[in-house]
């Protein structure tokens, strides 16, 4: 099994979620994060003083999938998250040794 992690722009969350559902994903875990990257941070103003905020709000998706499905899901995320502008985010894939469904104790791909 693999874990696909995607960091995307917040206003794309709905699209990405729908795309994942469309790609047959049965579950995912999402969290708010702050990103730093090529996308320059923005300037904020505090009583006349300008300062740069390096971190940009992003949303992180984590999806555990069967090895066979990785490519399709990555593609689904790319398609739904892409605006073409800097800061669209990253996807990374890592290996998962074991997965357990707490409710049933099922293991491995059965637990997905």
């Amino acid at each position: 099994m693999k874990k696909i992690t995607a960091v995307v722009k917040p206003f794309r969350v709905d699209e990405v979620k729908e795309a994942l559902k469309g790609a047959g994903v049965a579950g995912m875990t999402v969290s708010e994060v702050q990103g730093f990257g090529r996308q320059a941070g923005h300037t904020e103003v505090y009583r006349g003083a300008e300062y740069t905020v390096d971190f940009v709000p992003k949303v992180k998706f984590e999806v555990i999938v069967d090895d066979a499905e990785v490519q399709g899901i990555v593609d689904a995320i790319v398609t739904s998250a892409k605006t073409g502008k800097i800061g669209d985010g990253k996807i990374w894939v890592t290996s998962v040794d074991e997965l357990i469904r707490i409710r049933t104790g099922e293991l491995g791909t059965d637990a997905i």
Partner: protein, 410 residues
Amino acid sequence: MDSGNIAWVLISTALVLFMTPGLAFFYGGMVRSKNFLAMLMQNYFAMGLLAVLWVLFGASIAFGNLGDGGWFGGFDFAGFQDITINSKQFAAFTGGIPDPLFLAFQMTFAIITPALITGATADRLKFAGYAVLIGVWLLVVYSPVAHWAFGGGWIAEMGAFDFAGGLVVHINAGAAALAVLLVIGARKGHGKEPMAPHALPWTLLGTGILWFGWIGFNAGSALAANAIAAQALLNTIIAPAAAMLGWLLVEKLKGKHVTTLGAASGAVAGMVAITPCAGFVGTGPSLIIGFLAGIICYLALFIKEAAKLDDALDVIAVHLVGGIFGSIALGLFADSAVNEIIPDGLFLGGGSDLLVDQIVAVAAVFAFALVATYIIAKAIDMTIGLRVDEETEDIGLDQALHAETAYNNL
């Protein structure tokens, strides 16, 4: 000069002033967090810009040529010329409170009315366009309409009444909101994304502040600390209370859940509907008007669906419909025993004269505000622009327009 009356209008002015921050939070809790500060900004900025414009021109347009039965108050009092602590320009009309106080009290109405529009247009107004919009609107729409109904203009002369602003405030702002919506269109993602309120506790806080301030709005409009003010105050508590019950009842009948936002919305609907009636109707009618307002404004939520309008925070259902309902209800429930200046309404045996006048006034204010605001909004949209671009909408107005973020936890 009666010090008790002055004390009451002084504090009422403060109360109504406090309503605009209340409104800012009432609305602000319902928008998405990336647009929260922009909503607050629009409302607070109204306090800055409109107070100044009121002094410069608005007050004169509204209350010049007092009682002329006409359309426009002129510029005699522009810049508060001839308004001093000893002047008596409005004494006959106001029962003797100082001129600067009367105009300050009215100023707070002139501030909150344009601000009401921001609920409909949430999340997509350009700041500069907004600033021009409310500035022009104050002078071209609000102040004349205030003259018609509050300043002894043609509506007052015709025989229609408006105790504290059903016509001048709620229908006026509601129709304006509708007009601006026709110009700017829906939020990006409207109908596809849920756009849930980002933090209802702010909305509830705003509701509490609004209710508190509305006592000054309605009971203060008696311009005296007397029994009419007392009745207006009572009505301003019980009509919203009954409206809350009405709204929640429909919620319960329709779905499984009664909601906090429903309680807040119902209460505000009741405040709106009782506004034109507050010092003109008795206790029982207040309960009825409130209760019906809660039901009617809830049902009016369907209008935006039907008309495919993205009235983000339901200014049409609550202010326009609530204001129309209250203004017409006055034709039914007006009670000369409560306030001798008004004839009895239809249900109190006074015949349909008042009712007809009320309907004419409602139609006139609605039509005028709709058309005039549409022209103003369209003109702004075609010149400096009234709506932000897509990227700004995506990022959020707070960051894009104001270089600020509402919540910074890291």
